[in-house]
């Protein structure tokens, strides 16, 4: 473990490092670049990716724009909140989908849906404001409860908060509308644009995802971000240095809450509905799968994980039958599970780790980087 962290540290790109095991000591090379070093960091590849993302909806079909593109960005944003907490704060929270779900439910309750006896029909911007505030507040509360625990206990307390919320949604009819949830959650028509249409929705999701991504990248270089990573690696030393470890952790839950809440609002608009199925145990674990699949070493990880996850979910049923014949059509979960197992087994750092491993071995750039 130490050896691995050490070798990555030696590459000098501290953002590429990240480990979930809190007993690794702070190494001096980590302090490296502490400030956003301006436009020099923007390279040709960044411009290319941005251009490709902007052009994407004009070359892809509406289906690919909306269901693959839009959904990946939203799932990626929610998973980014987990990557931030787990990869940089050392706290694996399974309640991130719950926070997103709370925002989704708020949107349904405060703006309009088919459940007219509950939905208040307030304007969408007020709904969004309330949804994000309430979800962030509850995320802070979940954080306040769970920062007392460590490791697997954090996973468990957040899982039980999540499952409790799921059963609450199933059983409460007066506010949460029970098993049927809210259908026909309206997507705003603002500035002359229907934001549910594939291309506007894609850009909306892209805007939120990019904002979240750059915000996290920026935040990790601020004193707060560095201190948070310090508390992950050695909470006792950080405490001795005068940092309030608990406060840093709770604050990071609030920040993760904002990301997940925005993702939740977008998710409600994407699905056009919110039901307990949105926040059931499977959905909670899916977010962890997305984050681990992509890799938690860099904020881009969850987005890559989300793309792969959404493609597997959408085309797994076709893929299974094409790979193994028609009998496998009903066994596509087996295929998805196997792919997932292979990635976990052979690449502890997800697809990002896999990729950088390959590059480290074969790529020319990796060699020059190391030198």
């Amino acid at each position: 473990m130490n050896a691995r962290a050490g070798s990555v540290g030696a590459q000098g790109t501290w953002a590429a490092r990240g480990t979930l095991y809190p007993d690794v000591a702070l190494s001096p090379s980590r302090g490296g670049r502490t400030a956003w070093n301006g436009w020099r960091a923007v390279r040709a590849r960044h411009v290319l990716i941005l251009a490709a993302l902007l052009i994407y909806p004009w070359v892809a079909t509406p289906f690919f724009t909306f269901q693959i593109g839009g959904q990946s960005l939203v799932l990626g944003l929610i998973a980014l909140s987990l990557t931030f907490l787990a990869g940089y704060g050392g706290m694996v929270s399974l309640a991130q989908m719950t926070v997103a779900g709370i925002a989704s439910y708020c949107i349904a309750i405060f703006s309009t849906s088919a459940a007219t006896q509950i939905s208040l029909g307030w304007p969408w911007w007020l709904g969004v404001l309330i949804a994000v505030s309430v979800a962030t507040l509850l995320s802070t509360l979940i954080g306040w409860l769970s920062v007392r625990t460590e490791g697997i206990y954090t996973i468990m307390i957040t899982l039980s908060v999540g499952v409790a919320f799921y059963y609450l949604c199933e059983q409460n009819y007066s506010v949460l509308n029970g098993h049927q949830g809210f259908h026909q959650v309206s997507t705003p028509v603002a500035f002359g644009v229907n934001w549910r249409d594939p291309i506007p929705y894609f850009y909306l999701a892209l805007f939120c995802a990019l904002t979240g991504y750059f915000f996290i990248k920026y935040l990790l270089r601020t004193p707060f971000g560095l201190a948070l990573q310090g508390t992950r690696d050695n909470p006792r030393r950080m405490n001795a240095l005068g940092f309030n470890v608990t406060a840093h952790r709770v604050a990071s839950y609030s920040i993760a809450g904002v990301l997940a809440a925005v993702g939740g609002v977008l998710l409600a608009w994407y699905n056009g509905l919110v039901t307990p199925g949105t926040v059931n145990t499977g959905a909670l674990i899916n977010i962890l799968i997305v984050a681990v699949l992509g890799g938690m070493r860099h904020p881009i990880g969850p987005f890559i994980g989300a793309i792969v996850f959404v493609l597997m979910q959408t085309f797994g049923i076709d893929l299974a039958s094409q790979l193994m014949g028609d009998w496998a059509r009903e066994r596509f979960n087996l295929v998805i599970g196997m792919v997932f197992l292979l990635i976990v087994l052979f690449s502890p750092d997800g697809l990002l780790g896999w990729w950088s491993g390959l590059r480290a071995r074969f790529g020319p750039q990796a060699r020059s980087n190391r030198g």
Partner: protein
């Protein structure tokens, strides 16, 4: 947060205990039969949870191994047990088969996989999540969505006359006895045998155990086999009291997790306490406030963890 003052702790205990006593008095006055029956239901359900969760706590406690495929072992043991029981016509053979198959699966898991990822919490978690997805689909494929139920010998099936309650299902009482026996055997095994002492030493300090010349891998493998075997055993026992169908794996995984987390990991007594709490809350909730009965169990867990992050009997590590 750990150094909660004594006064506070008393106040908190009183704040929880007084309403509970008040509720018990009200319920006894309102309908004593219902209350006693519900209590007994909770205790016997706790027995089932204990059988499944004791294996989980052994593995969890010693290896810090978060085996989220524990529920899949439960289901696999039950299915194979059913086949054997159906072929031999013997319920006891089914129980034995359930234990052995799950134990073998656990052994293989430890020897082939977990040995190579020590200390990697998240990776183990993810691996076992993936494994449980795969196993669930394989079992759905092979056993379909049908409902399986074991047929116990008629001597332990039916009803038993009881004081106050007229009759009570015999099998649930047998389940309670089984859990008590398993608890005692585990206690004896852990406290009175050589392997058990090694396991306990491992729970306290793995590095020290390895340094003192014990073959740690062997201890791990034995523990994992016993822990997994108990899941399979529980599968047959639970499949007799209730039934077996796809989805039961997640249910018992969640139940085991709650029991172990509430009780404190690695502690058999903790698992017993945890299952009592979970079983009682579930059944009392179902009898007196059914709408939110399942929510209660999870709220209990959140509360316990918020005030005792290491579980009721867990030790800080």
């Amino acid at each position: 947060m750990q150094s909660m003052t004594r006064t506070w702790r008393y106040a908190l205990t009183l704040a929880i205990v007084i309403p509970l006593i008040a509720f018990a008095i009200w319920a006894l006055d309102d309908n004593p039969k219902l209350f006693l029956r519900t209590l007994l239901n909770g205790i016997t359900l706790a027995a089932l949870y204990f059988v499944v969760a004791s294996g989980f706590t052994l593995v969890f406690g010693l290896m810090r191994n978060v085996n989220l495929a524990h529920g899949s072992l439960y289901l696999a043991g039950a299915y194979v047990g059913w086949i054997v029981g159906d072929a031999t016509g013997s319920w006891l053979m089914a129980v034995a088969a359930g234990f052995l198959v799950a134990a073998l699966m656990g052994l293989l898991l430890q020897v082939l996989v977990f040995r190579f990822m020590p200390g990697q919490d998240l990776r183990q978690t993810m691996f076992t999540i993936g494994l449980s997805i795969v196993l669930a689909d394989v079992m759905l494929w092979k056993f379909g969505g049908e409902i399986y139920q074991f047929d116990p010998p008629s001597i332990i099936y039916g009803k038993t006359p009881m004081l106050f309650l007229n009759t009570y299902p015999t099998y649930r009482l047998v389940m309670l006895a089984t859990a008590i026996v398993i608890g005692c055997v585990l206690w004896w095994f852990l406290n009175r045998t050589r392997v058990g002492m090694m396991i306990r030493a491992g729970v306290d300090d793995r590095a020290m155990l390895a340094a003192s010349g014990v073959n740690v891998q062997m201890v791990f493998a034995i523990t994992f086999a016993i822990g997994a075997g108990l899941a399979g055993f529980g599968g047959v026992v639970g499949g007799t009291a209730l039934s077996i169908s796809p989805g039961e794996d997640t249910r018992y995984l969640l139940a085991s997790l709650m029991v172990v987390i509430v009780g404190g990991m690695g502690s058999i007594v903790g698992a017993a306490l945890g299952s009592l709490l979970v079983g009682l809350v579930e059944q009392i909730g179902l009898a007196y406030a059914p709408t939110y009965s399942i929510v209660f169990t999870f709220v209990i867990m959140v509360l316990v963890l918020a005030f005792r992050p290491q579980g009721i009997l867990g030790r800080r590590t």
